[in-house]
Point group: C2
Amino acid sequence: MNLEGHLSSPRSAWTSGGGEMSDVVVSSRARLARNLDGYPFPEHLQPDPGEQVVQRVQGAVTGLGRGWEFYRLQGLSAVDRQVLLEKHLISPQQAQSPDRAALALREDEALSVMVNEEDHLRVQAILPGLAVGHALRLALETDDRLEQNLDFAFTPDRGYLTACPTNVGTGLRLSVMLHLGGLARTQRIQQLLQVLPKLGLAVRGLYGEGTEAIGNLFQISNQITLGQTEEEVAGGIERAALEVIEQERQARRLLAENALPEVQDRVHRAYGILRYARLLGAEEAMHLLSDLRLGTEMGLLQVPLPMVNELLLLALPGFLSRTVGHELQPAEQRAARANLIRERLQKEVG
Amino acid sequence: MNLEGHLSSPRSAWTSGGGEMSDVVVSSRARLARNLDGYPFPEHLQPDPGEQVVQRVQGAVTGLGRGWEFYRLQGLSAVDRQVLLEKHLISPQQAQSPDRAALALREDEALSVMVNEEDHLRVQAILPGLAVGHALRLALETDDRLEQNLDFAFTPDRGYLTACPTNVGTGLRLSVMLHLGGLARTQRIQQLLQVLPKLGLAVRGLYGEGTEAIGNLFQISNQITLGQTEEEVAGGIERAALEVIEQERQARRLLAENALPEVQDRVHRAYGILRYARLLGAEEAMHLLSDLRLGTEMGLLQVPLPMVNELLLLALPGFLSRTVGHELQPAEQRAARANLIRERLQKEVG
């Protein structure tokens, strides 16, 4: 697949709707921060050595073998960078400052390496469902193979050195994206959000740090990267995720027992509005897609999860602009969003 | 058709969606109040003479010929009386106090006579669209034929005597039911509602005096029954209706020019919700049906007006209870209303 293929399709490894616990877990992600020895961190990197970093990583990525491609972000349009961001393949920083930023991507988008983000390299694995351990292994494997050709900044006492001290040590951030539609609707989500940070876990929205939880999608990740092995971190995240999953399932059981007609009504209305509306704001679309997702997860609706994931991506500004063919004003986005979602549902659900 | 036929079908003469100006006018109605000479008005009528009134009217109705049926309300269930009320065939008073109340009905429901309502007889004609003159002629013809067998209370100086002084004279009330969805959405309806009473016209809701305008349906009727001929009253109502129709059409043109995407969105959302919701309150259903009606009237939707009229009737408590087979609690009504509307739209629009 060439870059155009990645940019034009709302499919990604994590959108398949499969994997373990996929009734609650959208995706699991492992990310390793690495820096080349002998170069300043990207923030302090001059153009020339910055270019050297890109070229050295590009060389190492070639060693990863077939199925890997290397793309510089500099030549891409703002819309294309936005699409890569919406697919979680590059970071907001990279999208905003594409100079000397690059992306190495495996064909299925499950594995990628961001180049000259906050750190020189961020190796990332994203898989559908609860697959923290698997994502970690994939990322570590890729990291090992890159390390055969690259010299990473590392000290025995501190581990891998990173631009931000919160990543020093393993450089590992593991996260699980959960759809907590049941907890949100039973007003029990606030309590949960207050408990998790006390367990050393961060709770974030769909697009990471500083983003709000839209469409009841919450990302739970580790805050500690020093003093724990990768496997200990993975075990902690997995245990926390399983606990949250159980609470979410319990909330859904409660809804099914005590408020089934209301939930049925809500999820079918969401379908009816998405299927017929001519204007849809971003926030409303996310709420409706959350209702749709809950309906599918609870077995009340026949809309497949992969389609809900793809609709979520299609509803975002980058994908909208790309589909229409030019950058859209906010007012145009509402019509384009409604059209895209409506046509997709009409075609594939009827 | 027997009574069961009238009770089980949401079709009536006025639901056909046809007639003049049917993009704004739902129906036109003429009603003549008449009382038998020598009997107290119904409010003061004892059981025995009350029964005589019923029998005398029944005898006279026989003279109206084929297609007419005579039904006593006393034996009917509360739900059945509610259905007749919802079809505008009996009055709220008759529905509540069915003793010695009766209904003479022509098969097509365009003509009827309420017996022992506020007056002994109320001859009524309802037609679809703007048809004030035609409705008046039908009612007067029926009145003439009844008068061949009945002796009405009448004095040369005051005309027909009626229980309420506001009806004395011609005993005529002419009304036009208008759907003012455009004026409601351009915030110009309040102004109109303040002007009409100054022209001697009353503005009421779907179910007459004391009812609110639900679903943007407004009934305009004459307030004066003394000192004007029937034809003068009809002319006044028709002129007023034409003026309101023009204002409503202008409001719709403005909407189409300045806010077409928003109107398109609104009417299609209404369809989507009606087509998929599992619970629908009465007020919400009326609002959504008004949006649906506006969409059809403006040519934006392919839902036929007769169906909108029938859905309006089906959404009312009497029809709901009748369709389900027993009287419904308010909470049950919401599910029954959503089911009925959804199934009808699914079957006939798809």
